[in-house]
Every structure is written in structure tokens, then in C-alpha cells.
């Protein structure tokens, strides 16, 4: 845990406020034995002692108001307020009045002895019983007419009227009282009450003495029902307080301890109720939020999106299918068209286009060749004819010559001829058959 740090002034102021807030400190009567009594000017400074405890006191202007019998060793009751003296860091009782106490020495001594005895018996080690929170019946052991009882009734009526108060009347003062108290307690213990209140108003040690009686203390110790004591005022402590299951400073306090505060209870009930309503609303809201979130997820995850994605994919596949088939058919169709062109321009088609022409030209050449040959030969023959004609031996006949033949032989000389020989004269345009009549030789 973190240490809180503060200055001296702050801590001192804090202490002052704590102490001054407590009403008990502001108006208190303290019992004790005076010691170190001295004056300083008009003011008295002293201490009150009890056992090993000590309280510093101051009384301003004490010379005018302090009882003259007071000196060291006197038992007194000093009333005033507890305050802090900041300059010294001490607290002290600022005393307004001092009353000289009776000498209760004897009683206190008896009380101390009893206390030690009971302590040694282990009575004070009693395990405290729990006080039920909602008592149905509250037993009150007290005097019928006491203020203490009335305070208890008044407090319970205000705080928790749902219960029943059972009064077990007893006298609380006097010598016979202790036995009466024990009887009342016993009756209360058997009454079926949820809690027993043992209460009495304030008083001197003698007034309250019955509550220090051993039989009373032992009865309280033995009680089966939880017991709350409220004896005297805040400052009064009796031995029953040590064995009570709860000790209240006053009867009103005892009533408060015994009962819950109805206002608080009502507040709690309303709180519980509104929390239940809120919890329910919250539960419904939460459930609604959860399922609305689920609904949004459901909307988001609805197959709509999946469907449209799948639809697209399917359509794509189908388009691809169509495209692929179109491609296949077109490809094959184009290949086929190419083959059609190949067929149209195949060798055979070329052949039937080209060959007839080639044949014709060959034929033409042959024809040419043939006619050339013939005409050439005709020409050479013509030349031959001409040259034959040029050497025609009968050419001179044209000029009037004649040729003489005898026996189909050319006669070139008169010799060999005789008279009456038959000769033929050949002229250009005919023959003359003649007879040699005379032969003349040239030069004779």
C-alpha cells in the first residue's frame, strides 16, 4: 500500500477535525485520580490517572472555580472537552468543572477482584453469538417504567416495526434486583425471542452494581439467545458487557443493534427491485443486440452474394464454352476453305488450263516445220530447174539454128554423110525429115 505523505500542519489539522467531530469528546465527564496538580497563574494543570492510563488536563481560571479539596490522589469527575493542542502535539481535557468523587475505592476493588476471577474462569472468552438481522421477537429485560425501556420501544418502532417486543419486567436496582434480573433473563431465553436486550439507564457505580453481580454475569454468559447489553451511558462499563454478544453504549444503542433500519431496508429493497428491473432490461437489450448482430451477419452471409458470384462464374463458363466452340468451328472452317482453294488451284486444274495451249503450240511448230521444209525443197527445186534450163543444149535453135541428126545421132561434120542419106533437121518449132542431096566440103 502506498504511504500517504503530509506535513505536520496537515496531519495535526486532520487529528483536530477527527476529534472535534466526535460529540462525545466535546462534552465528556472523565473519572480518575488527580496527580501532578499545580497552578500556573490562575490556571491549573494536572493529570487524571486510572491504572496505568493518564490524561493531561487544563483548567483555565481554576482559582475561581475549582473545589478546594482537590489535590493529588483525590478521585474526581472532570467535565469538559478533549482538544488537541497543536503547538505541542498533545491532546488534553479542557476542564470546565471538577466534582470531587465519592470514595468508591471499596466497590472498585471488589469489581476488580470479580473481574479477575471471572477472567480466570474464562467467562470473558465467550464466543459471541450472531445477532439475527431481522428479529421477529425482541425480548427486553428491563423495568416496565424505565426510560431505558421506553427508549428501546421508541427506537424499534421507528426503525423496525415489523417485529414484536416482549417485555420481561424486572427491578434493576436494589439488593433483590440481581436475582430478579436472572429470572427475567431466564424467562426471556425461553420465550423464543431472537434477541434479548438487557437495558438500564445511566447511574452511579452503585446504581449499576447489579450488572456486575456474578450471578447476572454468569446468566448472561449461559444465555442461548444472543444478548445485547445497553447499561448506563457511553462511559459506563459493567461486567455483563464483557459477556454480552454485543455491547451497546446506551439502551437506544442496544435497540439499534437489535434491529435493522427500515429506511435502509426500504432503500435496499428498492435498490434490489430496480436492479432486477435493470438486469432484466439489460438482459433483453443484450439478447436483442446479440441477435441483431447475428441478423446483420446473417444478412451479410446470406447466399445472395454467393449466388451472384456463382451466377457470374456460370455465365462466364458458358460464354467460354460458346467462344471455344465458335473458335473450333471457325478454325476448322478456315482450314477447310484453304483446302477448297488448294483444290481449286491444284495441279490438275493448272494442267488442264496450261496443257492444251502447250499442245497447240507444239502442233503449230510441227506444222511450221513441215511447211518450211516443203517450201524450202520447192525453192531448191526451182533453182535446179533454172540452172537446168540455163544449160539447155537446144537453146541455139531459138536463134534460127538447126540441128542435124542421122540415125538419132547429132551430125557435126559432113564427113560420114553420103548422098541420099536420110537426115532429120531439128528446128525450134519442129523437125524436117530430109535427104542428103549434095555434100560440099568447106574450102573446096
Amino acid at each position: 500500500m502506498q504511504t500517504i505523505e503530509m506535513g505536520v500542519a496537515e496531519i495535526t489539522k486532520r487529528l483536530i477535525s477527527v476529534i472535534e467531530k466526535d460529540q462525545i469528546f466535546q462534552n465528556i465527564t472523565v473519572r480518575g485520580e488527580v496527580s501532578n496538580f499545580k497552578f500556573s497563574g490562575p490556571h491549573a494543570y494536572f493529570s487524571l490517572k486510572e491504572e496505568e492510563y493518564l490524561l493531561n488536563c487544563v483548567m483555565f481560571n481554576a482559582i475561581y472555580r475549582y473545589p478546594s479539596g482537590v489535590k493529588d490522589g483525590t478521585l474526581v469527575k472532570a467535565s469538559g472537552a478533549i482538544k488537541v493542542y497543536p503547538k505541542r502535539g498533545t491532546y488534553q481535557l479542557y476542564t470546565e468543572s471538577i466534582v470531587e468523587g465519592k470514595d468508591y475505592g471499596e466497590l472498585y476493588k471488589k469489581l476488580e477482584q470479580l473481574k479477575i476471577k471471572l477472567k480466570n474462569e474464562g467467562i470473558f472468552d465467550k464466543v459471541k453469538k450472531e445477532i439475527p438481522r431481522f428479529p421477529k421477537k425482541i425480548a427486553v429485560v428491563s423495568s416496565r417504567t424505565s426510560a431505558a425501556f421506553h427508549d428501546v420501544v421508541k427506537t424499534i418502532k421507528k426503525r423496525y416495526p415489523l417485529t414484536t417486543i416482549l417485555l420481561f419486567h424486572t427491578s434493576v436496582q436494589g439488593k433483590e434486583a440481581a436475582a430478579e434480573i436472572v429470572n427475567a433473563l431466564d424467562a426471556a431465553d425461553r420465550s423464543g425471542a431472537d434477541v434479548v436486550l438487557l437495558v438500564r439507564g445511566g447511574g452511579s457505580i452503585e446504581d449499576l452494581w447489579n450488572f456486575n453481580e456474578e450471578i447476572v454475569v454468569k446468566k448472561v454468559y449461559a444465555m442461548k439467545t444472543p444478548v445485547i447489553t445497553g447499561v448506563g451511558h457511553e462511559v459506563d462499563t459493567t461486567l455483563v458487557d464483557y459477556v454480552a454478544d454485543r455491547r451497546a453504549p446506551t439502551p437506544t444503542g442496544a435497540a439499534e443493534y437489535a434491529t435493522p433500519d427500515l429506511l435502509e431496508i426500504k432503500k435496499n429493497i428498492e435498490l434490489s427491485f430496480s436492479r432486477i428491473v435493470d438486469d432484466m432490461d439489460q438482459k433483453i437489450d443484450e439478447s436483442l443486440t446479440s441477435i441483431e448482430r447475428s441478423k446483420r451477419r446473417l444478412d451479410f452471409l446470406s447466399p445472395k452474394r454467393q449466388i451472384s458470384i456463382k451466377e457470374e462464374k456460370v455465365y462466364e463458363a458458358f460464354s467460354k464454352l460458346k467462344g471455344m466452340l465458335d473458335n473450333t468451328t471457325r478454325e476448322k472452317y478456315n482450314l477447310l476453305l484453304r483446302n477448297f482453294e488448294a483444290l481449286k488451284h491444284s495441279k490438275i486444274v493448272r494442267t488442264i488450263e496450261l496443257v492444251p495451249e502447250r499442245l497447240d503450240s507444239k502442233m503449230k511448230m510441227a506444222k511450221q516445220r513441215m511447211s518450211n521444209e516443203i517450201s524450202q525443197k520447192v525453192l531448191s527445186l526451182e533453182k535446179m530447174e533454172m540452172s537446168l534450163n540455163a544449160h539447155d543444149p537446144f537453146e541455139p535453135l531459138r536463134r534460127g539454128y538447126a540441128m542435124v541428126f542421122k540415125d538419132e545421132k547429132l551430125v557435126k561434120s559432113v564427113y560420114g554423110l553420103k548422098k541420099s542419106d536420110e537426115i532429120k533437121l531439128k528446128l525450134l518449132d519442129g523437125k524436117i525429115l530430109s535427104e542428103v542431096m549434095e555434100i560440099e566440103e568447106n574450102g573446096k
Binding site: V153, L167, N268, I276, D279
Partner: protein, 80 residues
């Protein structure tokens, strides 16, 4: 205690049951159906508590031996 009818419950039972009901509702694993049941029960308990408080009047009795005698308590009388 769960089986006792609300209308028969004492204030204390009723009050405790109301607290228990609230605690039960605030548990993490409570179902919607349980919530509603708890809610209805809570409301019934709340009504019962309110009824008991509203209709309460303190009874003061003096026990004398075996006798119980109703005491009249007048606040004015008390009034110190």
C-alpha cells in the same frame, strides 16, 4: 426455501430471497428464460416486502409468567 409460496414468506425470507434473486440474475450464465422467471419472482418478492413493510405495526407485549399482555405504547406518553 425455494418452494415456499411468496405470500407465505416472512419478511426476512422475502428480503433474503429478493437478494438471492438479484444475485442469481447477475450471474453471468443466466439464460433469458431463467432471467424472466427470476424477474417475475423478484417482482413478487418486492411486492410482498413492500406489503409487509407498509402493513407493519409494532406489537409490544409484557410477559408475565405464562401470560402475554398487550401493552399500549403511546408515544406522547413516552415523550421524555
Amino acid at each position: 426455501m425455494e418452494n415456499k409460496k411468496v405470500e407465505e414468506m416472512s419478511f426476512e425470507e422475502c428480503y433474503n430471497e429478493l437478494e438471492e434473486t438479484l444475485k442469481a440474475m447477475e450471474k453471468a450464465d443466466v439464460t433469458l428464460e431463467e432471467s424472466i422467471e427470476l424477474f417475475k419472482k423478484g417482482v413478487a418478492l418486492y411486492k410482498r416486502c413492500k406489503f409487509l413493510i407498509d402493513s407493519a405495526s409494532l406489537s409490544v407485549k409484557e410477559v408475565l409468567g405464562d401470560l402475554e399482555k398487550e401493552m399500549e405504547v403511546d408515544e406522547d406518553d413516552m415523550g421524555r
